[in-house]
Amino acid sequence: MARIVFLTALLAIATIRPAYAYIDPGTASIALQAVIGAIAVAGFYFRSTIAKVLGVFRPNKPKSDSEETPPPTESVQTGSDDN
């Protein structure tokens, strides 16, 4: 899959935009971000669906901070509140 994405990226050479980073972002990281983003979106919907299905059977299940619960939808929490 990675090879296909990268070949697509190479073909998209027509619209080159300037980079704005003083750090080196790394070619692989940039080329792969659309795929990583798609996995993240898919993961979100997958977890949401699982949570909804489980919710049918366990409507009062308390929210936990484990990997299986959907990500927080609120935009900001303080960095120390998970410790």
Binding site: F6, I16, A21, A31, L32, I39, T69, S75, S80
Partner: protein, 462 residues
């Protein structure tokens, strides 16, 4: 020049330290990004909630070394500078979450962070604070996340190393201050880790891609830079990482020896009370602004010192379980107590460019005016073979006032230490200790606190 030696990378400006004041210059190049962000008001909420350090615009006359066209900001001084390779696991995790929370919030206001350096975050007690104003720039619709690789190297990978593989990240991160490379971590992951969508995409897939891409290939780099990342996908990545990191905890911490120390040690509780009372009297008398607690463990005595007159405490310990306990205490109790990973026989040296980019520990703690060295000397003098006189000299050199505990050779802890090795410590004695201390300091108070003959000495340096 007053430019901080660690502030050379970003062409948008520099940090200047002038006495007790901290300035940041923003060059005309940097202003094209900073001013629109400032004017949008996006930063004010972060400052109000204590997530971002405050900044006041001052005139160039306050900082003669600033360029004529520079914008000059003044920040409050951070009391103690610490680095990610010294932070307990929970602190690096809190810093990672702060970075993601700030980016998630700013994305709604079309502001992006130009980098993801863990060094852009500092701690006030257990609370992380974002300090770099030059990181803020306008978000360009569908631009890639330029700081992704840096976020992985400086936050995600070190946390994964300790959480999933049980290897503390500190030695590796210290040896490589740009962070843990994606390919290096990927080569260590087990098959079961690769089923995690986060580890698969951000580590395994990325490492494989890096293996195939020639980073010196200009055409490939240009092709990559044309790849966009939709805002919704960028947000999904940030939320995915936030969710994943929030669920990480260090592997194997509960099994470390020192994590149980506070409840399961060789002291009688009456002896602990006597030590607490001694520390109380020292703190109330010396009123230290910055107290170093050597071998702080979970921060029991740090908390006592803070409750009785110490302004802030830096705790140093080499045990990861104890440090996480100490950090949890600092956050739960809201203490101005910063526990840091440190091997006392191998303190953090100057690192990075010219070995001055990141300061050594001694330089950063030079302002300390108090030191606690409770149940420490035998760990250096016997476990690490440092001559006792040097141990005492080193402790006394850290601060003008302090408390040192002398642990006699027939104490059960020392007996255990010597059980499997030859006793080559003929000079480890009360006489050597007293001579070393009295040579350098006046003994202000003294008390025997245990039936095994442990003694506390409060000293004032000559």
């Amino acid at each position: 020049m007053t430019i901080d030696p660690g502030s050379y990378r970003d062409p948008s400006g520099h940090v200047h330290i002038v006495g007790e004041r901290v300035f940041r210059t923003v060059t005309p190049h940097g202003q094209t990004e900073y001013k629109p962000v400032r004017d949008s008001g996006a930063l004010e909420g972060l400052i109000e909630r204590g997530l971002l350090i405050a900044a006041t615009e001052v005139t160039n006359t306050d900082l003669p070394s600033a360029g004529r066209d520079d914008l000059v900001l003044e920040h409050p001084k951070i009391p103690i500078i610490s680095y990610p390779y010294e932070w307990p696991f929970a602190a690096l995790k809190a810093a990672a979450l702060l970075h993601l929370d700030i980016q998630l919030e700013l994305l709604e206001q079309s502001v992006a962070l130009s980098d993801a350096s863990a060094f852009n975050i500092q701690f006030i007690g257990g609370k992380p604070l974002f300090i770099d104003y030059l990181s803020f720039r306008r978000y360009r619709e569908d631009e890639p996340w330029l700081a992704h690789r840096q976020f992985c190297q400086q936050f995600l990978n070190p946390l994964v190393l300790q959480a999933k593989l049980g290897v503390p990240f500190h030695a590796w991160f210290r040896g490589q201050p740009d962070g843990i490379e994606i390919g290096e971590l990927a080569s260590l992951l087990k098959l079961r880790h690769k089923f995690s969508p986060v580890l698969f995409s951000h580590v395994v897939l990325l490492a494989r891609m890096q293996g195939r891409v020639d980073e010196s290939d200009v055409a490939a780099a240009q092709a990559a830079s044309s790849c966009g990342l939709k805002r919704s996908r960028f947000r999904a990545i940030l939320e995915q990482l936030r969710h994943f990191i929030a669920g990480l905890s260090p592997a194997g911490v509960s099994h470390t020896t020192w994590g149980r120390y506070a409840t399961d040690n060789t002291y009688e509780s009456a002896e602990a009370s006597a030590k607490h009372a001694f520390v109380e009297r020292f703190a109330a008398d010396a009123l230290p602004d910055l107290l170093i607690d050597l071998g702080c463990n979970t921060g029991d005595y740090s908390q006592t010192a803070l409750a009785h007159g110490a302004q802030r405490v830096v705790g140093l310990d080499g045990d990861h379980g104890a440090l996480d306990g100490a950090f949890a205490r600092a956050t739960a109790e809201g203490l101005d107590f910063l526990p840091l990973y440190q091997d006392l026989a191998n303190p953090t040296p100057g690192l990075g460019w010219n070995a001055r980019e990141r300061q050594g520990l001694g330089e950063r703690l030079a302002a300390a005016d108090g030191v606690l060295a409770l149940a420490v000397i035998h760990h250096l003098a016997i476990a690490r073979n440092v001559p006792l006189e040097e141990v005492v000299a080193s402790i006394v050199s850290m601060a003008p006032k302090g408390v040192i505990e002398f642990v006699p050779k027939d104490d059960p802890t020392v007996v255990t230490m010597l059980a499997l090795r030859e006793d080559v410590f003929a000079s480890y004695s009360r006489e050597t200790f007293m001579a070393a201390l009295e040579n350098r300091a006046e003994i202000v108070a003294h008390e025997t606190v245990s039936s095994s003959g442990r003694e506390l000495f409060c000293f004032s340096r000559r």
